[in-house]
């Protein structure tokens, strides 16, 4: 397995998420993930990007999100950057799944369940979320 890297950029337009999901799914399968693992990692990335759009950019199109995908021998590293205001402190710690009857609030718990590590940093005026998934 050779190391590969791909940089994806997308607009904060929610209607673009479908095509982006398809693209991420292809990357996952090309990296050797089986259908189940590809589905999980794709979902985690979509949840993270959706959070950027919905909470960071308040659903407003026209703002940049970059996803840097790096596939190494034993893992996949995903870095998601946006220029939205910083998220609330401790947002990454919301790992508990809401009750089944909840209509929202599952995103972060899904991200944490479907990835091996998640970390956040504010770098200049950018939010930088790093996710990893072991192969």
């Amino acid at each position: 397995m050779t190391t590969s890297a791909t940089l994806l950029t997308l607009d904060s337009d929610p209607t673009k998420l479908g095509d982006f999901q398809a693209r991420i799914d292809v990357l996952c399968r090309d990296a050797g993930l089986d259908a189940s693992a590809a589905g999980e990692l794709t979902t985690a990335i979509i949840e993270a990007v959706t959070n950027s759009i919905k909470h960071g950019y308040r659903g407003e199109p026209g703002h940049p999100i970059t996803v840097h995908w790096r596939c190494a021998r034993d893992r996949i590293d995903i870095e998601i950057r946006d220029r939205a205001p910083p998220p609330p402190a401790g947002f990454l710690d919301r790992t508990e799944m809401p009750p089944p009857a909840a209509q929202s609030g599952r995103g972060m718990a899904i991200i944490r369940a479907y990835t091996d590590t998640a970390s956040y940093a504010r770098v200049g005026d950018e939010n930088v979320l790093n996710l990893t998934r072991r192969l």
Partner: protein, 111 residues
């Protein structure tokens, strides 16, 4: 996005699309709510085409379930693929929805 919808013996059957995500969530919720309120609150959702769903999609389905149950009805699901089923188990949604393998079984159970 307009859902395919038919009524059969007082049961509303809706064919969900390939993806159920954030962009469609508000519209999907509104459509399903309207179908439930205009019908008898008995809704069967076909997920055979739904290869991808995220938490927004989960919220949409939960919303339709709550609307249906307030009407004295229910929402049954069928045709769930492996990835959506795994998400349901992670989020424990499989504990509040009845899920069937195929349409006829779901419809028989709804009667």
């Amino acid at each position: 996005m307009q859902f395919e919808h038919e009524s059969r013996d007082g049961i509303d059957i809706v064919r969900l699309p390939e993806r159920l995500m954030m962009a469609d969530a508000a519209d999907a919720k509104a459509q399903l709510k309207a179908i439930v309120l205009e019908g008898r609150g008995r809704l069967v959702l076909d997920l055979t085409r739904t290869g991808f769903m995220d938490s927004s999609g989960c919220g949409t389905l939960v919303g339709s379930l709550q609307t249906a149950r307030k009407q004295g009805g229910d929402v049954y699901l069928f045709g769930m693929g492996n990835n959506v089923r795994a998400l349901f188990e992670l989020t424990k949604l499989h504990t509040i929805f009845r899920i069937f393998d195929d349409e006829e079984t779901a419809l028989r159970a709804m009667h």
